[in-house]
């Protein structure tokens, strides 16, 4: 039987999704063209959160820009802090005391856990299960407690400094970190039982928005999004910085365990598994942290030599690359921040073609974008 489409004329519908929409993870706007429930085109429109961080960076000193990196990815402020510090240190060739590097690794990995927790929690909430989201928030609060103890703030930490960290770990911090890890590790299995392998959840995620490995590479995806496509590339392993080479951990990749490699479920599972690896790293770091100073000698009026440096670090949402140009003055001449979410947004239009409206939400969640990082 052939269906006569001329008898019932249909029209494509344009729907505006966002900037105020519960599952666009902020102020992302997506212009959907749909044929009923099927999306024929989804064009992302970003920039609602543009604050001109790169322009601000040209007006403040290297040290003063540190608090602004908190606002780059507020769910992983520690990673952005440390990325900035590492970038400036690469530019100025500063040696950082080992204890400071250990502390940085500890806070970066703890923040990776808390950031992935939000990714996991908000993803399940997008899929309609609200309970895991609150469980994730509960665990994240503990990480925030640790950070509050360490640096005094719960969200915008401003902890790293050019040449070290702002303060040594207060007494009891490392013990509390260990306590948290012991508490947290079994929770991951609970999440898997509760939601990860739930039939409905798997069906919603598996085989949705498959990004093949070649495409992921061509689009420059990084972090969990790249690894979800089965490419074992992790900057902590492959372009090691800081003291990461001293730790034993595994690079988690998507294997297509419930569908095609590179689908939403793989990207989701990579994040869950990465939390486990982060726990391992923090355990090792806490056990081996050396004594010593936490701050190198950096002149108060810090002027790096003229030059250009590009530093890449592995943030929870992919590579955060900082391209710094110094003209030898106290302010950066130009800085460009390349973020994982910004690149991930580029592939959005391509992978969402032909999906359903509900899948758009799944794709946004699985790419784990965060808008301040896209818009800067």
């Amino acid at each position: 039987m052939t269906v006569r489409t001329d008898a019932l004329p249909t029209q494509e519908m344009t729907i505006n999704m966002g900037p105020q929409h519960p599952s666009t993870h902020g102020v992302l706007r997506v212009i959907l063209t749909t044929d009923g429930e099927v999306v024929t085109r989804a064009v992302p429109d970003v920039g609602y959160l543009h604050r001109g961080l790169e322009k601000i960076g040209e007006r403040v000193t290297y040290a003063q820009f540190m608090p602004f990196t908190d606002r780059l990815d507020y769910l992983a402020a520690m990673n952005c802090n440390c990325a900035w510090a590492w970038a400036v240190e690469k530019l100025a060739k500063i040696e950082v005391p080992e204890r400071a590097e250990y502390l940085r690794v500890i806070v970066c990995e703890l923040n990776r856990i808390s950031s992935h927790l939000i990714a996991f929690g908000s993803y399940t909430a997008d899929m309609g299960a609200f309970t895991p989201f609150l469980y994730a928030i509960r665990e994240r609060e503990r990480v925030n407690d640790l950070f509050e103890m360490l640096c005094g703030n719960r969200l915008t930490y401003n902890y790293a400094r050019v040449g070290g960290v702002s303060g040594d770990a207060p007494p009891g911090f490392l013990e509390k970190t260990k306590e948290f890890l012991d508490y947290f590790e079994p929770k991951l299995d609970e999440y898997n039982n509760l939601i990860s392998y739930n039939k409905i959840f798997v069906h919603r995620l598996a085989n949705v928005a498959v990004i093949p490995a070649e495409e992921a590479v061509a689009y420059g995806l990084t972090g969990p999004n790249l690894r979800g496509s089965g490419v074992p590339f992790d900057l902590r392993k492959d372009e090691p910085y800081s003291v990461y080479p001293k730790f034993d951990f595994k690079v988690c990749v998507g294997t297509g365990e419930r569908g095609t490699p590179g689908d939403c479920f793989d990207r989701y599972m990579v994040r869950i598994n990465e939390m486990r690896e982060s726990v391992r790293i923090v355990r090792q770091a806490v056990a081996r942290i050396p004594d010593g100073p936490v701050m190198a000698k950096v002149p108060r009026l810090f002027k790096p030599p003229a030059g250009e440096a590009y530093f890449r670090s592995e943030c929870p949402r992919g590579e955060t690359g900082i391209y710094l140009i110094s003209d030898g003055s106290v302010n950066p001449f130009r800085l460009k921040i390349r973020t994982g979410s910004f690149v991930a947004m580029n592939i959005f239009e391509k992978v969402t073609r032909g999906l359903m409206i509900a899948d758009i939400v799944a794709v946004i969640g699985s790419l784990d974008i965060i808008l301040p990082e896209i818009d800067r």
């Binding site: 540190m66 915008t156 039939k199």
Partner: protein, 189 residues
Amino acid sequence: MGLKEYMNDIVEAVTTTAKGMRITARYGVDPKEEVTLQYPEERWEIPAGYRGFLNNDVKTCTACTMCVKVCPVDCISLESVRGADKKMVLASYDINIGRCMYCGLCVEVCPPKSLKHTSGYEMASVARGELILHFIAEDAAEIKARVARQVAEAAVKAEAAKAADLSSDLSSEAARAAKEEAAKGEPKK
């Protein structure tokens, strides 16, 4: 889709749902799992290094303007005049906590450690002006005028003392008195 797959689908759906429901049930019946903090009746323990509202101890502040220079968002404004004893005298010291982002850079650079974070975090206001903390109650113009007066007085005294030193017949008492007079101005501030 074969029959086996079909049945497997159903069995898997039922078992995974049951697994999830067992976990939620455990949380549902266990009152120990509740983590809500009943703010404002219950409060959490604020750690030692908490970065709350800024407070400047104006008595020890040397008006060096380090904090103003380092602040990335320009939320601190400071006015000072040079006093009679060559030290800087604060005329006004305001922090706009509506703009402050609690990064703590100013506290780190403060040489006399007079600027500190407090543990305060509760503040609500309907007017933006209320978010500006004034650490010196007195009007800046008045302070400036007073200091200028003191400076002028001290200058006159110094002039007199110089003159006294120069003229050999004047007793040393007068010079001492002039010095005392100049010194009195300081504790008044």
